[in-house]
């Protein structure tokens, strides 16, 4: 069963690029990689999802190497409002085989002025 490991915390300054890496050595062929952001007293919010290579949207990029055993969430030019906990998720819908989601324990990002 896939297990996801991510750093407990990271500090950054406003305007910097932040890269958070998640390790998932036992990722299965069907698994997708997703990142969520969570603020205190709120539910997680979807940031980005990918299967392989690079995915980019208006808020972040996701880099996935060929072996898919890790992934890196890249946040360009962070601001104070990006201070939050970021979760890596590995999982898939397996049809009759069910639904699987393995969340990491989260990375607490603190952005300083």
């Amino acid at each position: 069963l896939a297990k996801t490991t991510q750093p407990i915390s990271m500090d950054s300054y406003e305007g910097q690029e932040v890269n958070i890496t998640c390790s998932h050595n036992n990722i299965a062929t069907n698994d997708y990689i997703t990142w969520y952001q969570q603020f205190p007293s709120q539910g997680p919010r979807f940031i980005i999802q990918g299967y392989k290579t690079k995915v980019t949207n208006e808020v972040a990029s996701l880099f996935i190497p060929a072996d898919r055993k890790s992934s890196t969430l890249s946040l360009p030019r962070v601001s104070l409002s990006d201070t939050a906990v970021y979760y890596c998720l590995v999982g898939a819908h397996l049809g009759t085989g069910g639904f699987k989601t393995i969340f990491g324990a989260g990375t607490r990002l603190f952005v300083k002025a």
Partner: protein, 115 residues
Amino acid sequence: NAGVTQTPKFRVLKTGQSMTLLCAQDMNHEYMYWYRQDPGMGLRLIHYSVGEGTTAKGEVPDGYNVSRLKKQNFLLGLESAAPSQTSVYFCASSYDAGLSTGELFFGEGSRLTVL
């Protein structure tokens, strides 16, 4: 458009009591999920549903039951609460995204304390 709404937001129970958490979504999503979040452990899937009238076990289903009688509602029940069930519970919903987990839309959470 409220998204995913959970009630109640806070509840304190005594060991052995029962209760039901209600989740409602207004996005016409097929899939709904219940997670629990504990410090240092991320979110763990309790039960999920892929459509009205269907339910399935997730990673940590013991001590919980669920029902999905209407497409927009997903109920999580604790028949005999235990202190180990003290947690923050999150409901989520998603559209059918094929093989991927899709985008999960989460509610704001329900904090449950069992004494």
